[in-house]
Amino acid sequence: MGKKSKNGFIAAVGGVFGAIGRFLADFGSAVAKGDAFVKLSLLWWGAGYARRKQYVKAAIMTALEAGLILFTIFFALDYVPKFGSLGTVKPEKVFNMKTMKNEWNDYDNSFLILLFSLFSFVVWAAGIIIWMKNVVNVYRLQLKAEAGEHINTFREDLHSYVEEKFHITLLTLPVLGITVFTFVPILLLILVAFTNYDQQHMPPTNLFSWNGFNNFISLFGGGGMTITFGYAFVRVLGWTLVWAFFATFTTYIGGILLSILLNSQKTRLPRMWRTLFIITIAVPQFVSLLLVRNFFANGGIVNTICANIGLTGFLRDIGLISTSYIPFLSAPGWAHVMIILINIWIGIPYQMLIATGVLMNLPSDQVESARVDGAKPFQIFKSITMPYMLFVTGPALVTDFVKNINNFNVIYLLTEGVYTTTNQAMANSQAKEVDLLVTWLFRLTQDYYNYKMASTIGIIVFIICALFTLFAFNRMIGNGREEDYQ
């Protein structure tokens, strides 16, 4: 399994490079073998189309080229040249002799330089692809013309976008959306991880600059900084992995057990019971989790009940707590266990839903014959149900693990504002014992404007998730399986 998915991953990466290679080869042969107009298309994008009397297309390509040149002159060149330094001029009030007033100078904004330079790079990259693709297309036109084939009119070209090129019509907007709202932002934050963008270097009043690998060094404990990021990172990472492990497996096993319980023939009114369990997850998490957090608050109802039945006193007597209440969500250890327990509450119904769907397809003849042979329910569970579940939902288990690494809601809604760390070294780097990497990076950006460290942590989270996903890669994109029933 592991080997197969690794091959799948290599094949996928290889596929991407293969596609790029073929594209470059097409471009090369087009330039080499094309006629004068194809070569002229390298300079004037519309040339090849004009030669084949596709005047509308020629006009569109010329307009695109003009647009790109104007973009470069009037926009990109304001920012890209400063990309290397990220700006040098700080904002200052300067006395203007003409208006006799103090006015702001023409200062640099490091963030805008970074953002718009990146934007320019993306536009240029797109421009280069269009430019190359254009030459390839024009060369194809030339071949067609030489072979005496029919050359499409503009109307026919348009029509091809609901025919064989329909996928372009379908994909353009979604891919544009993903580029603008996911791809470019991710690139931007990867760049930020190599700068010193933090509260002391906030544009527009201050500039920030490139910082090399310093952020990574301080995250891994080097650099001799007074801020103890290395210390906090190891602990937060440790808890993130422990959390993801327990959150995934407790709910997974629990969900299977619950669905077996509910699907048993002994169950009366199974639909009603199932509905009752689903109610807990149908309520939005910000309601249910905020509620539970107050339920278990230091002065909350559960603490009152525990005090009344003497549990609080008992725990104090045996030395488990030193306070007059049980610090369910406000002390290390207690909070860790409670978070995992509350997650079981919220996670098991989900897994129950999925497990129910899968178990309906459990080969019942196997279960029957095992029962006839006198197998105990536990044996059936261990030798038939679980292997089958693992076979079907194994890859989903990995996805769940990755999702739990990034499970922001549970941790944030349960502990933000309730849990304060007493560990000074953690507090110095704005971390808490119950933080996941994602909640930590969220706090770093929202409350402390420490974007450089947040971005660095983000990259680490990505690497961790990527490593775990490698194992599930094949299944996730459905390689090899998708055509089974077409």
């Binding site: 991710i186 002994k266 149908a282 309520v283 009940i305 504002g417 983000g458 399986r481």
Partner: protein, 284 residues
């Protein structure tokens, strides 16, 4: 014989009692939510499970907005954002799913692989950067910003819908193509009408997105203007340490009211959710 029967009966009773007990444990917080929302006392009731006095007054208060609490307004905000998000997201998801499932073109696999890689980055990470971009263009604290955040990258969540399209027999499309049907017409008049389950699933899940989300809304709506909040952010702010004593019961009322429509939609959706997550895997 009789002994066996009674044995069986007692095991059935035990079995059902166990389920009832678990269901009860699972429902305690929900019961507490509903009960507390009918309390006459505004703060959190810490001494008894059930409120001492019952009253509907906080439901009335919920519809009399003050400076902190503007539930009707929040509800409208979320509703408007959710409607736009639904239209855009559903269109994006179906388009990407159809293109990657039914059509064959050279960039298909590379694009899908890119999607997998992009999905591995925590959504939070790109959102932080999106926040900057939106701020640069003055789009934070606005409907437009929220709608973009919720629906901009919707195309990445195409896998479940693709799984569904994968199961539609290709012969159908081939036949239509032979009859001279264009790809666009195959999509709009053959595939879409056949795909009601997955459309319902996609519509409901994208509609629920803005209702269930808390993080992104909190990030984008950071100006602290109560009028702009979505339900999630508004209810969260009500539980601020300084406010919780006068607003906890109202929070519960709001929680109940917002949970009812969401739960109904969720119940409709979960049927398709199970099919979507497990369907492809099981049949394979």
């Amino acid at each position: 014989m009789r002994k066996m029967k009674s044995n069986r009966a007692s095991s059935i009773i035990l079995h059902n009692v166990l389920i009832a007990f678990l269901a009860f444990v699972w429902l305690i917080p929900i019961i507490w939510l509903v009960c507390t929302s009918f309390s006459a006392y505004s703060g959190m009731n810490t001494s008894t499970f059930f409120p001492r006095e019952w009253s509907l007054i906080h439901y009335q208060k919920l519809f009399q907005p003050d400076t902190v609490q503007q539930f009707p307004r929040w509800f409208m905000n979320t509703f408007i954002v959710a409607c736009f998000t639904t239209v855009i997201s559903t269109a994006f998801v179906l388009m990407v799913a159809y293109a990657t499932s039914v059509m064959r073109f050279p960039m298909r696999k590379p694009l899908m692989n890119m999607g997998v890689i992009l999905n591995l980055f925590p959504g939070m990470l790109s959102m932080i950067a999106v926040y900057f971009v939106l701020k640069t263009f003055n789009l934070t604290n606005s409907y437009a910003g929220l709608i973009m955040v919720y629906s901009g990258s919707a195309g990445l969540g195409y896998l479940i819908a693709k799984g569904f399209f994968d199961t539609i027999p290709r012969a159908l499309c081939e036949a239509a193509r032979l009859d001279g049907c264009s790809e666009a017409r195959i999509f709009s008049t053959i595939i879409i009408p056949m795909s009601r389950p997955i459309i319902v699933y996609t519509v409901i899940s994208s509609f629920l997105g803005p209702w269930m989300d808390f993080v992104f809304a909190k990030m984008i709506l950071n100006a602290g203007i109560s009028e702009n909040y979505t339900v999630a952010v508004g209810l969260y702010k009500m539980l601020d340490k300084s406010l919780i004593n006068s607003y906890f019961t109202i929070f519960c009322c709001g929680g109940v009211l917002v949970s009812i429509p969401i739960s109904i939609l969720f119940f409709i959706m979960q049927k398709f959710y199970v099919e979507g997550v497990t369907g492809g895997a099981v049949k394979g």
